[in-house]
Subunit: 345 residues, 2 copies
Amino acid sequence: MSKPTKVEIAFMGMGNVAQAFLQLLARQHEWVESMYGVAFKTVGIATRRHGSVVSSTGIDLRDCIDVIEKDAHLTTIPDCIDAGDAPGLLDVATPDIIVETIPLNPHDGEPALGYIRRALDKGIHVVSVNKGPVAFAYQELKTLADLRGVQYRFEGAVMDGAPVFNLVEYCLPGTSILGFVGVLNSTTNLILGGMESGKSFEDCIDEARRAGIAEENTSYDIDGWDAAVKATALARVLMGADVQPHQVNRAGIAEVSPEHLIQAAAEGNVIKLIARGHAVDGGVLLTVRPEAVPISSTLGSVRGTSNVLILHTDLMGEVAIVETDPTIEQTGYALLSDLISILKT
Amino acid sequence: MSKPTKVEIAFMGMGNVAQAFLQLLARQHEWVESMYGVAFKTVGIATRRHGSVVSSTGIDLRDCIDVIEKDAHLTTIPDCIDAGDAPGLLDVATPDIIVETIPLNPHDGEPALGYIRRALDKGIHVVSVNKGPVAFAYQELKTLADLRGVQYRFEGAVMDGAPVFNLVEYCLPGTSILGFVGVLNSTTNLILGGMESGKSFEDCIDEARRAGIAEENTSYDIDGWDAAVKATALARVLMGADVQPHQVNRAGIAEVSPEHLIQAAAEGNVIKLIARGHAVDGGVLLTVRPEAVPISSTLGSVRGTSNVLILHTDLMGEVAIVETDPTIEQTGYALLSDLISILKT
């Protein structure tokens, strides 16, 4: 048996998603390592709340989980060196792969975008769940990654762990994506569903907040900005469009009233925040807005936090992927599947 | 630029699906060839109605399309040698890849199963749309393929070109499939939909026959045998089960009356022929039977010839793939995607 290749991993961000990934990796690493002939070593962790550390000897994943659970500082882990802040990690460490999950600034994708650019430029693979950098700068980052011979992967950016980007890359070879339509934002879907069952808009928002689904700034979800950023990411990656989130023809759900929902139901419809993209001369036209869709349709069938993406293709007709009731574990899985994609090549 | 690798292809079966693939390949072969650094050469075609031929110099795909359209004999193509019957092709030719689409005997998978076994044993890759050999002998054929260092691929066996087997293999690495539920048979879905709108069972069957969707022997569809064979194929490949189609707990749609459909609709439901598989101690329990499902569910949302497969996984929760209104072109695409999978490795 040949000796496993050592793969050094560093984490930027250690919030809920990264922790879910860490739990998954702690459970699955032996399988992944033996399957792909590798041995993982965690050489750095950068966080906003728990400090940033590096270690040349490797950080035990269980130590890391313990420290985060105790809300302690990462420097309390044995044999770790304080790396200062998050960008400081990139000054002192050059891992093979960075797992990036830092909080998103939805208006320009920073600071994640800058960190990803810098990591790729240093010849480091990046796996990320951040939609911002994809929506604002996918082509630039992809070109940089290709130039440095590394991969930039982000399966979790749009539909948690449900395959979207990998679906097209691995399962629909040779097809062109002509357009798409989807329900991409969980918070608005949960709110509209709650309002259908007679709850008030405000009660529904509170519920989404309590469930930990809504973004800190709920207007980001409600005004359709989250869906617009996701639609832009899809248009850039799947359709090669050079488009910005602010160019999306966007309307949120604030104007949707209980009367609208009752009227829709009477017509066999349900109101969803629908994201659409379709190829037009010289680009892709993107819209995000509340639409009445038949309750008996695939779009109409997603409830609660579930989401759906329907792809219109040239060779494979119309194919949809539906993710039912995703949790944070599924977003963690997106990172694992991206990690495996890198190990495979 | 390095010289392209020559890839020799032979066809077993030249019905609608193979012709759709041929049309697709005629349009796309330059793209595929340049993408994967190969040059295709068609070295043999075996059919039931148009004879079987081989050619060491290569058969022009347009000549082949012409002959089939004119309903002529394949030996009228220049520079072709008569190979006798279909198995005769395997006596005289050893292509790199066989594209197998011969008519299915649903009760034992023959003669396709025997041809596939023989081709794999000769070290020939096989791409196929036949569900029978998968449902009756997947493990045996996969073991043989591995032993000979070739691939046996069959993406089109269950859901035309919609990724099912490739979805799990390429996009859900490390996950275990715990179960599945789906609407897998187009004919019964079309019939039940027609009956809902007030047509008679017999009129709906005629319609499905005219649309070219129903199998020659419609009882094969109506009695749930087609769905049972597909469910068995899924259980074997995705869940490692050693199970036979006749072990499926099976009921068809013959007993579904207009009254049942009206009653279901009154309760917000719709009746579909549902295939289910779930892991039990020591195996997989498979059922195919008409079930009332909510019209507002993903299962209930597929109309006409559309189909859906929902996978229950350990790490990725519940994920579904929906194919809307597939045509023969999508089944042709399944063969193209399988061909590309082989070229990639």
